[in-house]
Symmetry: C2
Subunit: 251 residues, 2 copies
Amino acid sequence: MDWVLAIDKIKMGLSRKHLVTIFGSCEVDYVGRATSKLSKGKRLVLIKGDNSISIHQNRLVRPTNYMMNTSITIESTKQGAVLTAKRLNPREIITVMFDKIDDVQSYEMEISDDLRLSGSERDLNDILMEDLSMIEPGLKPINQQEHFRKGIADIIAEDKHGHLVVIELKRRQADYASVTQLQRYMQEVQSIKNCKARGILLAPSIRKNALELLEKNGLEFAKIDFELKPSSKEKAHIKGLQKKQQTLDKF
Amino acid sequence: MDWVLAIDKIKMGLSRKHLVTIFGSCEVDYVGRATSKLSKGKRLVLIKGDNSISIHQNRLVRPTNYMMNTSITIESTKQGAVLTAKRLNPREIITVMFDKIDDVQSYEMEISDDLRLSGSERDLNDILMEDLSMIEPGLKPINQQEHFRKGIADIIAEDKHGHLVVIELKRRQADYASVTQLQRYMQEVQSIKNCKARGILLAPSIRKNALELLEKNGLEFAKIDFELKPSSKEKAHIKGLQKKQQTLDKF
DNA sequence: GCTGGGAGAGGCTTA
DNA sequence: TAAGCCTTTCCCAGC
């Protein structure tokens, strides 16, 4: 592809906030929060209307290099063309040195967020808030996303004996970090409210070692099964709950 | 663009393991680890030679939907064309319903990975293993990446008094998780070797609350400064180290 | 608007 | 295959 034509088309796309794709042979340097160097090869460069850029090889979802909120320039050089994406704070720079540009496309698109309706952790949280009795009869929600000094507890509830229950919800397999997270909230709740509290980790599964740690700390695990509805108008549906440990009536 | 032509071009690209881009108007459904639905809009679909797919809007580096290791099919329908990407384990499916395809490109590219990143934690770890005296005079490395039942300690060393030192290295700001990670290793080391040990968290900075927790547990923080070399042939260079807390000669 | 704390999600690596 | 963990993150609250 002709250099002048290619560069013109890119500049035009940038100024119009189009989504621009550039396919060609290039080297890529990155200096910033880390550094990287990509030797010469064929790549796809994607530039979006919000001035984000990503450089793709022919494998993996994630780009090899990327940057948000950049200011992008492109100019011709002796060898071909060089595209530069810079930002300050943190200071970083991507340099793409093209020795050949095979193709440039410029697509007009809205720069708006796609509306995405989903069955995320937030959804599950909302559903659970409406009815905690699935976890355990008599369990009543008190607060959701309660901010403590050391983090945000997913759900605070009260059991039938009037004891505080801290619930940490995970959409995927719970691990060490999940357990220690819950522990931190427990400590803070207990010191603030000055009373003992129960802690429940709610997740589809838990790693064996994490479960050991959990139980050693007197916390409980409850398995949550939910099915996802293809139609996003409905929220996810929670299929069932199963306590690994029976409720400890130890108060 | 003509439907037959578009679909043919896509199928051809897929069979040849090209990087394929499709620009058009579509709805997107995703069911799997979460669910989501995108209403009709213009999008760019990226399919790579390793059967990964991502769907992009005109902002943000991250795609709105994506999947790895998929099996992809495309076929014409009454309304236009539908592209399906499926995988098992975890079972998930993306359905892209096109009502218009504006453009299809198919680029031949190697399916190789050639990014060299410098300044990774692995790099720093290697450099430190060669000389721990920067952290503290007389500190001698014993082992690197030592596997315990509950995790992998970055560096095990011995101080001038012959006491075991567990070092956890972070290339970015240390947080709660970093501290609890170190704590776990400490507990295990001490129970295995049946002796008291010191623990040092080594990072460019640490969050205030995390530092509190660290100190409350009798662990130490040391600040590490490193500079990144633009050329990835060289490793990152460690500029300096500074103990926040003086060495506790408490043994 | 910027900043900093907190939490999530993909992908690599080793057992 | 599973567990552990790292990362050029992202969001949200607070200033």
